[in-house]
Symmetry: C2
Subunit: 411 residues, 2 copies
């Protein structure tokens, strides 16, 4: 019996009266498969959540990244509670901020210091300021289809943007060293920084890992032309390598941005930097009311402890490989062709012989209505709470969904 969404729809009607779009941002239902996905959740535990109609899902979005150890994780929640009992948002800094900064510096390969904020986007925006302050230049190079937040400069919103918002940005294709070479030669002393994700995770497209020398060449061009290299590790951070995804791919950025999985869902972000950026960071005024909240810092420390203790990246890799291999085998068994891209901890699957994502919509919709929460055009996330048994159950559902795709579209 496939799921129905009566309560979700009722609630969405109420939502539409008091919230523009009903649900906005990345959670908006128009981004998944209208009619096949729940709009509202009621309860989440481990790798599963239950929606407001009582339907249960094995969740491969993990809140779009933050949930890395499982929802409602006791150790992390208890660390949070224990801290909050003594106050979380206070008039002076908590002792815990020193402990967490020391921990990030000890853990993340490129970090000599750390600043805390709330959103990932707070840190990408601060990174621009630091690169510009350090170089006394204005231009920032970004990759087409890179995601760094919804703030005006980041290019994901089209309404209410002024020409000035984006006048200091230059776009290039991710992964193409010649493009970057061309830009630095053309603009040399105008480029303050280049901000890239450690691997390319666009929506509606295959993910791409960096070619062998991509980042070492980026690094040496940055050094040669005095450009600050910024890695936006907000989405991938903590899933590939606890020392940072840059470490995983073998290079050192000057600045790196972290958030999402850092505290298993508690709102915190951090920008870390190398020694050479410290004085500029010290001269910058960056502030937010909740940026020193100690509860989120306690959660981050507990989360990093736990990720280290269990070696989270190796578990995510193993489970991801099991999922990805299983999906590929199933697709073949039905005579279907799928392309799986990206690291197994954060895979993306599409049907190889289509560009309109119709098969993906049908496949993901079938999966959702049978208890497996994938996304048709955004990368997925594994958590350490996804057991082998969960993945086997997932593959059973996927098998029937592939069958539906074959029935509807043929091979």
């Amino acid at each position: 019996m496939a799921y129905t969404f009566h309560n979700s729809k009722e609630l969405f009607r109420r939502a539409a009266r008091v919230i523009p779009q009903g649900i906005y941002g990345h959670l908006t239902p128009v981004f998944t498969v209208p009619g096949s996905y729940p709009y509202f959740g009621a309860k989440a535990q481990g790798c599963r959540f239950i929606d407001v109609d009582g339907n249960e899902y094995i969740d491969y979005l993990c809140a779009y990244g933050p949930m890395i150890l499982g929802y409602a994780h006791k150790k992390i929640d208890q660390a949070y509670y224990a801290q909050v009992k003594n106050g979380t948002c206070t008039s002076v800094a908590p002792a815990l901020c020193v402990e967490l900064a020391e921990r990030l510096v000890a853990t993340i390969d490129c970090a000599d210091w750390a600043l805390f904020a709330k959103n990932g986007a707070d840190t990408t925006s601060i990174a621009l300021v630091l690169a510009r302050g350090y170089t006394a230049r204005n231009k920032i190079v970004l990759a087409h289809d890179g995601y760094h937040g919804s703030q005006p400069w980041a290019g994901t919103n089209t309404v209410g943007i002024t020409p000035a918002d984006r006048s200091d940005f230059i776009l290039m294709p991710w992964g193409d060293i010649d493009s970057f070479k061309g830009l630095v030669e053309k603009y040399q002393d105008e480029i303050a920084g280049v901000m890239l994700t450690p691997y390319h995770h666009p929506v509606f497209a295959d993910q791409r890992l960096p070619e062998k020398n991509y980042f070492s060449e980026i690094r040496s061009l940055c050094d040669r032309y005095g450009i600050v290299l910024i890695i936006d590790d907000i989405r991938a951070g903590w899933r590939l390598d606890l020392k940072g995804s840059a470490h995983y791919f073998g290079f050192k950025p000057d600045l790196a941005c972290f958030s999402k999985a850092m505290a298993n869902g508690y709102p915190i972000s951090a920008i870390v930097g190398s020694e050479k950026m410290r004085i500029t960071a010290s001269k910058t005024y960056a502030a937010g009311t909740f940026w020193f909240n100690s509860g989120e810092m306690a959660a981050a420390l507990a989360c990093i402890d736990e990720m280290e203790r269990i070696d989270a990246p190796s578990i995510l890799k193993e489970r991801g490989e099991m999922l990805v291999q299983g999906l590929q085998d199933l697709a073949s068994s039905h005579g279907l062709h799928v392309t799986v891209s990206g690291p197994p901890a954060m895979p993306f699957m599409r049907f190889s012989n289509e560009t309109n994502f119709m098969r993906s919509q049908l496949f993901c919709g079938e999966c959702a209505r049978n208890g497996v929460f994938f996304h048709p055009h955004h990368n997925w996330f594994l958590s350490t709470a996804h057991t082998k048994r969960d993945i086997r159950q997932t593959l059973d559902v996927a098998d029937r969904a592939f069958k539906a795709v074959k029935k509807h579209f043929g091979e």
Copy 2:
């Protein structure tokens, strides 16, 4: 026995190695009185906190606004915990977001809809986008010395800012209707919006309440020239009037930004708007990983419930008046002249016959080293946890601090 800060200093030395400035943003020690204030807190409860040296303070900063009901408030914390046990940051929106949006629309006078974010600054930045999207114009009018966050456009940071960051902004003096009239006549069809705080709360200066017709004239000029009126109620919101500070001062903005006291310290912010802004808000892509976290939403609902139940603004006014009157009487009794400005719930006191804040530094330093946490050049905040007894104790400490000021500076 005045306080000493051995552990604070030790910890600060550690902090300085891993955090630029040691402590940054509004919590940086250089903003208070170096040597007289603690750097790090250990525990906060009610209206008090204890620093890492065991010194206790009656706190009139209230975390710079968020703490309105007392630190570690059981009802709010329990509402948060109860929600978090079922997951907080999840892959679909929580049912609670509808309840909270409905509540804001029912509570805040100018609200026909609400969007949630994390930082206050998220909402002021979204407000600019909405004003520009609605009007298809670029320029935004701000007041000199108004605070809307530390993002590049907001003017509080000077390092790493590009000309483009501020090219679409026009500054005017807060409270001067002729200046605004002059600007709208000069720029008329170029001005998208004007963003103002509901009363003026600069640092290093007296606070100013709006004159009788200021906002009604702003409102009618905005209507006449098609300009979006945005109120940044992040600092004052919830302390003057639960329907919003604009309601308190008798006018309706098109957009209003709230955060700080909305959830008693849990990180959440909201932008609310009038009907006419709804379609623009629906067309805008605004997203943050943690913006739909249900824990913070549960805390906000519990906080609004409690503020309504006890009529928080009336308590804050009464306690604020007692503090302010007491300070003025004490100053007079020592032959000193102080100027107290702003609403009693958020007062600011300075010594009338100085502009360099030396007396304020000595006064606040003396108070801090004797257990009362004021700020020499930033407005203070009352909470409902400040009892009459706390205020009497505060005035005892202030009496001795005034005496020290008189001894050092004369009358």
